[in-house]
């Protein structure tokens, strides 16, 4: 069940992604409406993070493309924010919480320029939103996991974008913080911003998101939560690995085939 929308804020067209020639995502086709709060749901190894990273050009696509706001990413970077998993960086880095949040402003600042007073104020405001304003001067190595997560969230907020991608923002966060964060995201969606979240906890999906992507190496479903989050589709997404697909992936890797033939070289 894949529901497409008019004037999508994000369009992914026939996207295939491979790691070391091994395809991990097959032929993803989807569109997302503006102002939605989207949950990407699927079992471990389903390619949830990879999908986001590929849309954001951090992982090259073997074939297919993504359009954001109907344009290439390079032309709309200012309108796109990203919150990586917190394990993706070494937190034993000589920087304060405020330093890290200010990084969210670097895109707007451009090369060579130092953060201005306005940038600092935005950063402080974002820290306040995530309840971390008291920690602005704290060294990042002294933060707990949940606090690190909130710092990354504040940094993404500081980008002041229209489309947000978040990779497991609730991992390692206590229940109260999770509630505060989801409140924040819902508020953003009400302001017609689009938030795409990789999510792990099936229990809260219905409560949190109004649009759901079910992923398991391929797109099982995409649509409004109440239409997609059904037993039948969940079965399809979680009902064991698609062994045939995995085997073919491994064959492709072993044989060193390109996942896609180059155009014009059909043989």
């Amino acid at each position: 069940m894949i529901k497409h929308v008019e004037n999508p804020v994000l369009e992914v067209h026939d996207l295939t992604v491979s790691y070391a020639r091994k395809p991990v995502l097959w032929d993803i086709d989807l569109t997302l409406p503006q102002g939605s709060l989207v949950g990407i749901v699927g079992p471990n190894g389903a390619g949830k993070s990879t999908l986001i990273k590929s849309i954001l050009d951090l992982v090259p696509a073997s074939s297919g493309y993504s359009k954001l706001f109907g344009d290439d990413l390079a032309n709309v970077r200012r309108r796109v924010a990203y919150m990586p998993q917190r394990e993706s960086v070494d937190w034993d880095f000589p920087a304060s919480v405020l330093d890290v949040v200010l990084m969210g402003r670097y895109g707007k600042l451009g090369l060579f320029k130092r953060p201005r007073k306005a940038d600092r104020e935005v950063a402080h405001e974002c820290l306040r939103k995530v309840g971390m304003e008291a920690f602005a001067k704290r060294q990042i190595s002294q933060l707990s996991g949940g606090q690190q997560q909130r710092v990354f969230l504040a940094r993404a907020l500081a980008q002041e974008a229209d489309l947000y991608f978040m990779d497991e923002p609730f991992a390692g966060v206590d229940a109260a913080t999770e509630k505060a964060i989801i409140g924040l995201l819902q508020e953003m969606a009400e302001q017609n911003k689009t938030v795409v979240v990789v999510h792990h906890d099936l229990q809260s999906v219905v409560q949190y998101f109004n649009w759901v992507l079910l992923l398991n190496m391929r797109l099982v479903a995409s649509g409004p939560t109440e239409q997609v989050f059904t037993n039948e589709l969940l079965q399809e997404a979680y009902g064991g690995k698609l062994t045939l697909l995995t085997e073919v992936s491994e064959l492709v890797q072993k044989g060193q085939f390109a996942a896609r033939e180059k155009q014009g070289y059909r043989g």
Partner: protein, 429 residues
Amino acid sequence: MEAFVEFFSLRDPNIRYVVLGTILLTASSAVVGTFTFLQKKSLVGDAVAHAVLPGVCLAFLLAESKNPLLLIVGAFVTGWLSLVVIDTITRNSKIKEDTAIGLVLSVFFGVGILLLTNIQHSGNAAQSGLDSFLFGKAAALLPNDVRAFGILAVLLLAVVGLLYKEFKILAFDKNYAAILGLPVRALELTLTTLTVLAVVVGIQAVGVVLMAAMLITPAAAARFWTDRLSIMLILATTFGVISGVTGSFISYTATAMPTGPWVVVIISIIAGISFFFAPRKGIFFRVRRQMNNRRMILDENILKTFFNLGENDHSFKEARSWDQLLVERHFVPRRLRNGLARLRRQGFLERQSAGWVLTQAGFEKGKRTVRLHRLWELYLTQYLRIAPDHVHEDAETIEHVITPELEQKLQEKLGFPEVDPHQSEIPYR
């Protein structure tokens, strides 16, 4: 002493050149090295340092003179080439980066030594002094060299100053920098170029063999003292400059001494001091904190034992003998003796003919430890559902850790209970 005054008064213009040169060389490598260090690419710096030697020799063979500009170009080319080779090997084969670095380093350096030996035996008069690239010779810096390398060093510092925030985000979170639209590839290239340049500039002072130490050690030492990047840069530069100037002073006074090894010895001493004595992160402070903790635990355990003995016979004001204490709890006798003496000194115990007795302050402290122990046991059984016969060991540790704020919270959460899971009374104020 005379040499010291002569050197540091900077009256001799030659010495001025040497000192100025050394400061610029060591400062630029420390600054660039800080970012190399934070990017976790320390080994790459070592590879580059060794790989510039064949470039220097080739440039000399082509020009048949020691024109500093040509030598810089030569060093730069092979330095860069080594990085490209490392990158190509890592990307296109199963060989991991550390292996690739090892391969490239030894091959390039081997070729460099080969060329250098050849040049030395060629009978070319201009070659004398070329071997100072091996271990560095700051004292042999000519005004011409200092000008060339000095300009390069200033340029290097200026670029780092301009791209400070870019290099910072590159070292912390490269993917995020890419998302923001920063030209990550170009920035990485710039930083790599700067690393090669810093090496090229630095080898005059310390030589190719030990150059990596000048890149990495100042940053590693500085990291112990601070958690702020700006201060880390300043400290690394200071450490680098101190070792550079001292090293060139030694090689100035003892003419046969190469500069490089001395510079490295001094920066290593600085690093050693940082490693042991830096506040909070240094070994010395960590050991001292552990010792303090052990002492605190022992003291609280002794007072707790007095309190327990008092509970048993309902008399807290009675003197306790040595044997009584040892029967109640298995102390190490030597530690117990020290602990008793310390507690007496601090006013928690008093000595009487029959033994030791709690003062009021000692009584309160012992009571608090017992209270925390029993509260924690109760917390574990009620909230973590741990069996009552399993909670004692946990509480033995936690009773020393809980702060007054946590104690307050714990009491409120449990509703000021009267007895612990073993029906012992919880003593309040």
